[in-house]
Amino acid sequence: MTAMEQFVANLRAAPSRIVETAFRSGKPETDRTRSTFVFGNVFLHLHSVRTHRWSLRWTTTMGLGIASLAAFLITLVTGVLLMFYYKPFTEVAYDSIKDIHFVVPTGRFIRNIHRWAANVMVVCVILHMARAFYTGAYRKPREFNWLIGMGLLVVTLGLSFTGYLLPWDQLAYWAITIGANIAQSPREVTDALNITEYFDPGGFQRLLLLGSDMVGPEALIRFYLLHVMILPLVLGGLMAVHFWRIRKDGGLVKPADADQRAGTTEETVYPVFTDAPNRTYHLAAIVKGRTSQVGRGPENTVPSMPHLFYAELGVLMLTTLVCVLLGLISDAPLKELANPAVPENPAKAPWYFLGLQELVAFSAFMGGIGIPSIVLIGLGLIPYLDREKAGTGEWFGGPGGWSLVKQAMIVGFLSSLAIEAFVIHYGWLREWFPNIPQLFITALNPGTMITAVYGAYSVWLVRKYASARAGAMGLFTCFLCGFLVLTVIGTYFRGPNWVFYWSPSEWPKH
């Protein structure tokens, strides 16, 4: 062959060679190449090469973790697109959003998807947390991953909150004014104790958040920086640890008898450890003991490619579909330009903060900082207080089970509804005793009452069942119910001046 012929042959072979070199070890067709497909790929190698069949059952995860990730990826892509036009300066921010919405080709569509995906992400993250809780997935060795998960929850909410300011419309301006003042609300306590002059954590937090003593250009730049840079990076870092830990903690949680219950593996799936080298683990000094046992390795697994990846891809597609459809049906809101002289009435935060806003309407400090901190600390302690084994990997596993959860739902709904109804009907301490010191109200208000009822109920459960898991299930369920009740009241039943109305049609018009 002449050099010229060789050249032409190479040129013609180039396309197929490119594909071959991309896959490095051939297409994922055999058991071996399916494995190399996973660990030879930088994006896929966070997964293990084979996946237990229990993990692939739809009821194990309901795909909620992947759906959260998918929603995040959607916000990432659409968010970068929005950054082409968005200008984080108070004089032009509103106009640039208006341009995106009305002028930029596909701008409105992309903006809608971004907004919806952010909402979908919040919903999925909360449901995913509930899934991890009710299947007992936080137990040993997954305690720390539960904590990482809580970090993810906080950052997710932070992303939504910072994004809310960027349009610089009335909705944004007043939600952030309230939010920043919640950050300042420790003053409610320091003022009552007369020590604000010397010790003012509230003022410091607000100053750090706003970079000024009012919601202005400095605040907008800060929120923008947090929203497009700092928080996504933190979220990415936490996610990497979250996923890595899932693998290192032995994959997803499974019940002890998962192998029997998963049924027999299909004939076509190649068994794992029949001809695996049996010394490598020992060489790396990872495993104590001589060899890993031949033939008793992690059976009941299937290759991650395609079984797991196709499932993940399916969830990704479904999430995208939901976000796109929602974006087609319903536009992201844009009110009038921010006006610091006239608050929006009623001024409402994003829906997932309306439960908090309901609590804040009794005491800024307790509702905005006190109770959320109690909830976060309580959630974080769960894996360290419940160190039981029974029911791990089962939905509602543990003493009491589903009937306990049902009872807790009744307690959770009724007590929060009863307390809210009482307050809406009869008012609260300030109305009865106008001169009552503020500290009384800070300590004793509907928010702390609901929290106390829930706490007492779960202590009662711990004693009744002699089990921390029972108490945790009661408390977590009550907490979800209370969140739901407060959020619904805040969203649908509060009108101008935060007065209770059965429906918006009763709102006074002016």
């Binding site: 309230i178 409610e188 003593d213 250009p217 309407a361 005491s363 300030r430 935060w498």
Partner: protein, 161 residues
């Protein structure tokens, strides 16, 4: 010849810390604390030392006809003026709860955000607001006043006019 003295150790047993590692550990901790201090130092940057807020002093002309108990709010400002027999005073209309702007009504003020109510002198009548609305410093006479939204005076400080 073996490098190891003493009883046979497994690779899974923790290594004893040799004395010369003390220096190494010291260096490690020193650099760790240097890093920590550097991070703390960097955190000073985001805390603004000089606030870019515009001056909050401005001039107001009260309407001739301002009746007792009637509020006058200069357009676009968060302050309400009252005139009674003892003189003129100005009450901030920024809610002490979470910073919404309260609206004057017949009894005093109402807040649109979480329903706090205040009387004409700023005292809390209802709702979550923890403190009364502050009174603002005003100077001037007759119908010409200068108000400073940045400085407060004790409740009851009225300017004779």
């Amino acid at each position: 010849m073996t490098l190891q003295s003493g009883p046979q150790r497994s690779r899974l047993d923790p290594e004893p810390v040799p004395r010369r590692d003390l220096l190494g550990l010291g260096a490690l901790w020193a650099s760790a604390s240097a890093m920590l201090l550097a991070v703390v130092g960097m955190l000073r940057l985001p805390k603004a030392a000089v606030l870019a807020s515009p001056s909050k002093k401005f001039r107001v002309t009260l309407p001739e006809t301002l009746a007792v108990g009637e509020a006058f709010v200069p357009p676009g400002r968060a302050v309400a003026f009252y005139r009674d027999t003892e003189g003129v005073y100005a009450v901030s209309t920024i809610c002490t709860h979470l910073g919404c702007v309260v609206k004057p009504n017949a009894e005093g003020f109402e807040c649109p955000c979480h329903g706090s109510r205040f009387t004409h002198d700023g005292t809390v009548a209802k709702g979550p607001a923890p403190r009364p609305l502050p009174w603002l410093k005003i100077t001037g006479k007759e119908n010409q006043f200068v108000v400073d939204e940045g400085s407060t005076v004790p409740q009851g400080t009225k300017v004779n006019a």
